[in-house]
């Protein structure tokens, strides 16, 4: 197993969430893994138990994509959008809307891939449409987390500092 840099999640503004990760591959490959259905459906799955039976990508500005995930227990979740920027191998921007929308509006997702010495840094920015949209997104799945103490503080502060 190769050692990889840790994932960072930051909230640089009140509308954005930014996820950064370094992978050990050139960016052309990383771009393919984000845009070729046969590759995308193998990793973009989220929590355990989900598969991605529908993964359609019309990779061009104005082209649409459609993803549907299914859980072993029968649940399904669909999402789609339109590409607004496609720059191989460095940048993809698209709108994103869930079938059962809980964000109250269209979200924009920007993926940037920067390569250095054969490794690629993937920066994904999720930008919610409005403050209300983000509020709604923040509300979903909120658990109390009250018992989580000070030890996480440092981590959070470090991450938001690097934003």
């Amino acid at each position: 197993m190769t050692k990889t840099a840790p994932l960072t999640v930051a909230t640089p503004t009140d509308r954005e969430v930014v996820i950064t990760r370094v992978v050990d591959a050139p960016r052309g490959m990383v771009f393919d893994a984000h845009t070729k259905p046969d590759l995308v459906r193998r990793w973009l799955l989220g929590p355990p138990g989900w598969t991605m039976p529908v993964c359609e990508i019309d990779l061009r500005v104005g082209g649409k994509y459609r993803y549907v995930w299914k859980h072993a227990d029968g649940q399904a979740m669909g999402m789609g959008g339109t590409f607004t920027e496609v720059v191989r191998p460095s940048r993809i921007a698209a709108t994103q809307l869930f079938d059962e929308d809980w964000t109250g509006g269209e979200t924009r997702v920007i993926t940037e891939i920067v390569e250095q010495s054969g490794k690629s840094t993937i920066t994904t920015t999720v930008r919610y449409a409005s403050r209300e949209a983000r509020d709604a997104a923040l509300q979903t799945g909120m658990t109390t987390g009250m018992e989580a103490g000070y030890e996480r503080l440092e981590e959070l502060l470090r991450e938001t500092t690097h934003a």
């Binding site: 994932l7 999640v9 009140d14 990760r21 990383v30 893994a33 009250m146 996480r152 503080l153």
Partner: protein, 132 residues
């Protein structure tokens, strides 16, 4: 009960400033007065007080009862809620990226094989090495 999202919004907004994050980091070590909090910064006490007000409004800190000193104290709950939300995102993305690593390894393997085959074609060796 609606206030969760709203409260979190205030939390993230309060955390979006480096001075306020530094103040919180200091308070994670224990309560402190405004004077103590202002000391490491090149800032007036009123400027620090403004930041403290934002943190207070977001519920991230509270004031002690001592009339004179009124030490500020970290309130862990809203921070825990914010980190909890980030943690959920992190878990999902971490799982995704682990799978992406595997996909990329496989692609690199395929590419290497293709390149090796090409080299084999261009410069055929007299004998193939036997595996042991």
């Amino acid at each position: 009960m609606k206030p969760h999202g709203y409260a979190l919004d205030a939390t993230f907004a309060a955390l979006a400033d480096p001075t306020r994050r530094a103040i919180l980091a200091r308070l994670a070590d224990g309560e402190a007065t405004v004077t103590q909090l202002a000391a490491p910064f090149d800032m007036s006490q009123p400027a620090i007080s403004k930041h403290l007000k934002v943190l207070e409004r977001a519920g991230l800190i509270t004031r002690g009862r001592e009339a004179q000193r009124r030490p500020r104290k970290l309130e862990p709950r809203p921070l825990a809620e914010a980190t909890d939300w980030i943690e959920r995102h992190r878990k999902i993305w971490e799982a995704n990226y682990k799978r992406l690593d595997a996909v990329l390894e496989e692609l690199k393997g395929k590419q290497k094989k293709a390149v090796d085959a090409l080299i084999e074609d261009v410069k055929p060796r007299p004998k193939k090495r036997k595996r042991q």
